[in-house]
Amino acid sequence: MLDLILSQVANGLVLGGLYVLIAIGLSIIFGLLGIVNFAHGAFFAIGAYFALTLYNVAGWWAVIFAPILVGALGMVVERVLIHRLYDKEPLVSLIVTFALALMIEATIRLIWGGIGLPFNPPPLFAGFFIWGPVLITKYRTAVFMTTVLLLIGLWAFMRYTPFGRILRAGSRDPEMVGLLGINLPVLLTAVFGLGCAIAGIAGVLAAPLWTIIPSMSAGAIMPAFVVVTIGGLGSFPGAVIAGLLVGIVTTLTIQFWPEASGAVMYVFMALILLVRPRGLLGERWERFE
């Protein structure tokens, strides 16, 4: 039994890595723009569909091109729709982005049809590693490593580049940043595009694991919200810790009480919020106080 528990914990870490990847774009958009983006799962789904379509044209280069296109689409959406929500109540952004999610799902259905489309991992990542009781597939290992590299890159970008510093300052005091002569609206467009591009990366990487159907966004958005809420709204490290914890809790529940595995992340979230209402690493966020 101990072997199986160890195996499930390792699997939970890898699953958690995927949850982190899905959630981190949502966390960035909320943390820097204050927008509760309910359409995040839809951008995740678009990433999967773009990868599938581009794969037929450009082979595995699709893995790179698809998130870029999703990011570009996100920037267009920000310019057309999202930028109108910055000075509105958070509830407004939630409702508008929920409508956007439904619209994107309907558009996917219109373009690609409603039936599931096949897409499998590249042959390079076929097979798995076995370390004692732990079995992890090469593909999931690659997804986990990609997530780690992406997180390090994002952290360094926000921490050490002037662009990152402006973004962090602008998210708290946009007026002051504007007075310094910085064109904040353009930066905010870029941030929304970045968040969508990360959702696109998650969609691309999940495409060989999940069934590619228009409703796949629903499977992404709820774990993403749970992870971001547990980690603390807008907290980058909080989302990482929460994602890994949710992954482990889910896999251990599957081992001992499989019927509850779908609900356990919500129970876990409720327990965390009872103890820490702002989430694990949540900070005071003036706009929502």
Binding site: N11, P121, R140, I254
Partner: protein
């Protein structure tokens, strides 16, 4: 003129509630009869999920339904037909839309019922409103078992019957089974039926996991199965969930190592997996490449391919045949009266001499031979995934016994 300040007796909240309740009760108790005028089209409701993991199947069900109507130039008895399609977002939502179709759209009958949980709710509403419904996809045993009613007909072979048809083929792989079934009506039905059959065969249960619907990651379940080393994985996960499971089954290197068996799947579930990962042995009501298909079904396949540019999935045929049975029955009834349509459906006949089919009068269950299909070892065509291994039962005379008597299935149908 209405004066809001006048001292006339006001309509009290209690009076209003009592009136509303009385109106509601009255509409439920009275038989629903369409009040369509002579120059209005015949409206038929289509109650199928438009979103969710079942949507890939409902797209084909709807395509088949629309094709059946197109074959008749969109008319029944010379009158134009209008299909009104509403969603099945949840069992409650499906019931509300059923009522909307009946009372606002004034449909004369309803086709649909994609998921068992929704179909069970819908058939209760059909009985209350006394409006004919033909369920084209849901397979839960109770639909034509203990929940059967005069106004509900059902195409799909019930889970318990499919289990009886399929069990000998699953037992060929061994008697140590691992159950992986969805935690709702369909999966629980499969779980119960196969547990009983396995026990009768003297088999053992290697594991038994109930899986939440729309589970996106099966890797932890697969690790448990790998550890348990069963002879067979007996699945009961629906639609997109089955596709996800099979993709991850292959990813974790399990394809070809332990056989996967399941009943009541859809072709689209396997098409979504792709040739690299598809595997398993299943039951199916219909397969477009079955050499035994009669000429009218061969024509249906050709028409479907011409219209949609791809072959029909089993669900397209299911939508087509239920729609045909209803359209032909309405035409034969020469009436929009619910009981006349019900009687015509009870007497409707289809199929070929080798494979005839009908709705059994006593429980309104469609009696039809099922196919046992197996995914080919090598798939070279993006649609051609299956080999037909058997037709069950071989003899038409055995159908009635295999489906079980209505009494044995718990059906006690009232006469009105």
């Amino acid at each position: 003129m209405y004066d809001p300040t006048s001292a006339a007796p006001a309509l009290g909240r209690r009076t209003l509630l009592a009136g509303a309740a009385a109106l509601g009760a009255g509409s439920l108790a009275a038989p629903y009869v369409s009040r369509a005028h002579a120059d209005e089209p015949i409206r038929i409701g289509l109650l199928l999920a438009k979103t969710g993991d079942i949507a890939p199947q409902t797209e084909y069900l709807a395509n088949g339904t629309y094709l059946a109507l197109a074959e008749r130039d969109g008319k029944i008895g010379g009158k134009p037909v209008e299909l009104v399609w509403l969603d099945e977002p949840s069992p409650q939502g499906a019931q509300q839309n059923f009522q909307k179709l009946a009372q606002e759209n004034k449909v004369v009958a309803i086709l649909g019922g994609a998921l068992s949980s929704s179909a069970l709710a819908e058939e209760a509403t059909a009985a209350n409103l006394k409006l004919p419904m033909v369920i084209d996809n849901a397979a839960a045993t109770d639909i034509t078992g203990k929940n059967c009613n005069k106004y509900t007909f059902r195409l799909n072979t019930p889970v318990a019957v499919q289990a009886r048809m399929f069990a000998p083929y699953a037992l060929n792989y061994g008697k140590k089974w691992y159950f992986l079934t969805a935690s709702y009506a369909f999966g629980q039905d499969i779980n119960k039926s196969f547990h009983e059959l396995l026990a009768k065969a003297g088999g053992t249960v290697a594991g038994n996991d109930e899986v939440p619907l729309n589970t996106p990651d099966y890797s932890s379940f697969i690790l448990k199965i790998r550890q348990a080393q069963p002879d067979v994985v007996l699945g009961g996960v629906p639609a997109g969930d089955l596709s996800t499971f099979l993709k991850q089954w292959n990813e974790l290197g399990m394809r070809g190592k332990i056989p996967v068996c399941e009943i009541a799947i859809g072709d689209t579930d396997i098409w979504a997996v792709g040739p690299q990962a598809a595997t398993g042995t299943y039951t199916s009501l219909w397969w477009y490449k079955n050499p035994a298909n009669p000429p009218e079904e061969v024509k249906f396949t050709q028409d479907y391919q011409a219209k949609y540019g791809k072959p029909p999935a089993d669900k397209a045929w299911m939508g087509w045949i239920t729609a045909r049975s209803l359209f032909e029955s309405i035409e034969k009834a020469k009436s929009m009266e619910p009981l006349a349509i019900v009687e015509a459906l009870e007497n409707w006949r289809g199929g070929s001499a080798d494979n005839p089919y009908l709705y059994r009068k006593e429980d309104h269950q469609f009696l039809l031979k099922n196919l046992v299909v197996q995914v080919k070892d090598k798939i070279t065509d993006q649609w051609d995934y299956f080999d037909v291994k058997a037709t069950v039962p071989e003899k038409t005379a055995d159908l009635d016994a295999l489906f079980g008597s209505p009494e044995a299935n718990g059906c006690k149908m009232s006469s009105s």
